[in-house]
């Protein structure tokens, strides 16, 4: 057998591949986890926008799964929510926020049979009072601990509605179950997340009431977290990740069809739903310190967390990477 016939081509291939391999070795690698919601799907674009860093973007079912992977050191960067950030700090986990991503995405929907005009909080309050007087529970649903839960609770409190006394809160953990709950008349009101909100409205299972953004937490939703050991060992790579996030945000802000495309691709949803959902999404890489503190306070008040994490929330917002990526001082980045 002529060994040279096999060995020489293999050696030639290796010689060709080696420079490529060594280049790939040069670029630091970051494992990035993101959840598969409408807000979060643009994170899947970060690898193609990354420069000087190789991003391995991994999709998780929920932000909690991504956070668990981060704190157990299975990934380096995770896209979660501000609520996850406060929860992680409350548990004493080493997490550092390095960028925002997309905000918004919450919508309050009403059962079709309720005669209330969109945004008419006065009528909604009167209806809730009537239910109470009649001894009927006014059932309000959300996925407990989601950004939409906090947004809704904040908006209700601002309007003088006590969610513990005036209404009956129903936790529907999976937002994909919200549609059926409304369709079957099992709840009167839901605060849900995109793209489910659009899906519910397009299916005519409920009607739009309003956005729950008029409260201390504003419309804050997503946040990019890492750990201090990753910052210490790989600061350049993290800077590359934040640059990629900023670029992706600019891309989807300027090109809505691109966002629709990515939502549709990652979630498998109909494009009509994705088109409706993007109207309620706000690509924004800034980190909002004051609203983040408000969320932490609300979570303590709601007993979602045990301790006061305000100081840690403020301390662990690291603006360095965002400053480097945007060329702006932190005072212009939400600090």
């Amino acid at each position: 057998m002529d060994v040279k016939r096999f060995v020489l081509p293999i050696l030639a291939l290796l010689a060709l591949a080696l420079p490529t391999l060594s280049l790939a070795e040069d670029a630091p690698k970051i494992k990035l986890g993101y959840a598969k919601c409408a807000h979060c799907t643009p994170m899947s674009l970060t690898p193609q926008f990354a420069e000087g860093v190789t991003i391995d973007a991994v999709g998780f079912n929920t932000g909690t799964d991504a956070l668990t992977a981060l704190v157990s050191k299975n990934i380096d960067v995770a896209q979660v929510t501000y609520l996850h950030y406060a929860i992680a700090l409350d548990k004493g986990f080493d997490v550092v926020a390095i960028s925002g991503q997309v905000n918004g995405g919450s919508a309050i929907l009403l059962g079709n049979d309720l005669e209330i005009a969109p945004g008419d909080w006065g009528a909604l309050k009167a209806l809730i009072a009537k239910y109470k007087a009649d001894g009927k529970p006014f059932r309000v649903a959300a996925s407990r601990g989601n950004a939409q839960d906090i947004h809704m609770r904040g908006a209700f409190a601002k309007q003088g509605i006590d969610i513990n006394k005036d209404v009956q809160f129903i936790n529907i953990p999976n937002p994909s179950d919200h549609l059926q709950a409304l369709r079957r008349g099992e709840v009167e009101l839901i605060c849900t997340v995109e793209p489910f909100a659009t899906q519910i409205m397009q299916a005519k299972a409920a009607k739009f009431f309003g956005f729950p953004y008029d409260q201390a937490a504003g419309k804050l939703t997503n946040l990019i977290l890492t750990r201090s050991d990753v910052i210490a060992s790989n600061p350049k790579a993290l800077e590359g990740v934040v640059r990629a996030v900023v670029k992706v945000d600019a891309h989807i802000a300027a090109d809505k069809p691109a966002l629709i495309e990515v939502i549709s691709k990652v979630t498998g949803l109909d494009k009509a739903i994705a088109t409706g959902a993007v109207e309620n999404l706000d690509p924004d890489p800034k980190m909002y310190r004051a609203s983040a503190l408000a969320i932490a306070t609300m979570m303590r008040d709601l007993k979602y967390i045990n301790s006061d994490v305000s100081a840690a929330v403020e301390k662990n917002l690291d603006y360095r990477f965002l400053e480097a990526a945007t060329g702006k001082p932190k005072t212009e980045l939400g600090y």
Binding site: T62, T64, V71, A88, K91, G92, N171, S176, E186, N306
Partner: protein
Amino acid sequence: MMALAQLRKLDRYIVPVLVLAGWEAFSRSGALPAALLPAPSTVVWAWADWLVGTDGNTQTYSGHWLADMLASLSRVAAGFAIATLLGVSIGVAIGWSRKIEVVIEPTLQMIRPIPPVSWIPLAIIWFGIANKPAIFLVFLGAFFPILLNTIHGVKTCDRNLIRAGAMVGGSERKLLRYIVVPAAMPSIFAGLRIGIGSAWMLTVTAEMVAVKSGLGYVLWDSYYFLRYDLVLAAMASIGLLGFCSDLAIRFVMARVLHWQRNTTLRGGE
């Protein structure tokens, strides 16, 4: 000799004690953040608060264990009871009648490999939210082990016994009642024991579906808030209740199958 016998009784505790001690030591070693892998003592502390409300560390769940346990138990009991009723009756029918087997079994065998969790969307469409879809999912988990074991039990019934019954004039109904079903009982009980385990396993999945109480619900909700101590306490609670349910079935089995005592390997135990 007495001391040796007592030592043998302690054998069963050696592995659990070693596992718990190793876990406690590892958790306290600082190799992982304590909140990520809570030590058994931390889990017990959270469990105690969940059980009787010691210091309120489990927040809204403080002192609610009994209510959560009863909520899960009622769902498991309902789902398991329906699964037993349908699994045994359909299983006997399939095992006994070739015609019924041909008509029903292919469909059931096609449905069987579908993971119960994938039924969630349909369960919600059919039954809405709250208890009914959860009971349906528990039923699905328990039904197939009971069904298959019943079919096996009926099909492996000794033909000579049936012949003998027929020879003394037994009708088909009587043959089923007095020969086939009793002969299939060991298999049926094996199915019930596997089924109750599956039912408890499915509780966690079932309680993802818009229920407001239960051990599975607490497990999911606690995971969302990274309360791993409570997650582990919920897991331990489910394991404990599964163990107790199995003991209850074994207790009934020992009475129903008293004729097996001393006739089978370890039948006298």
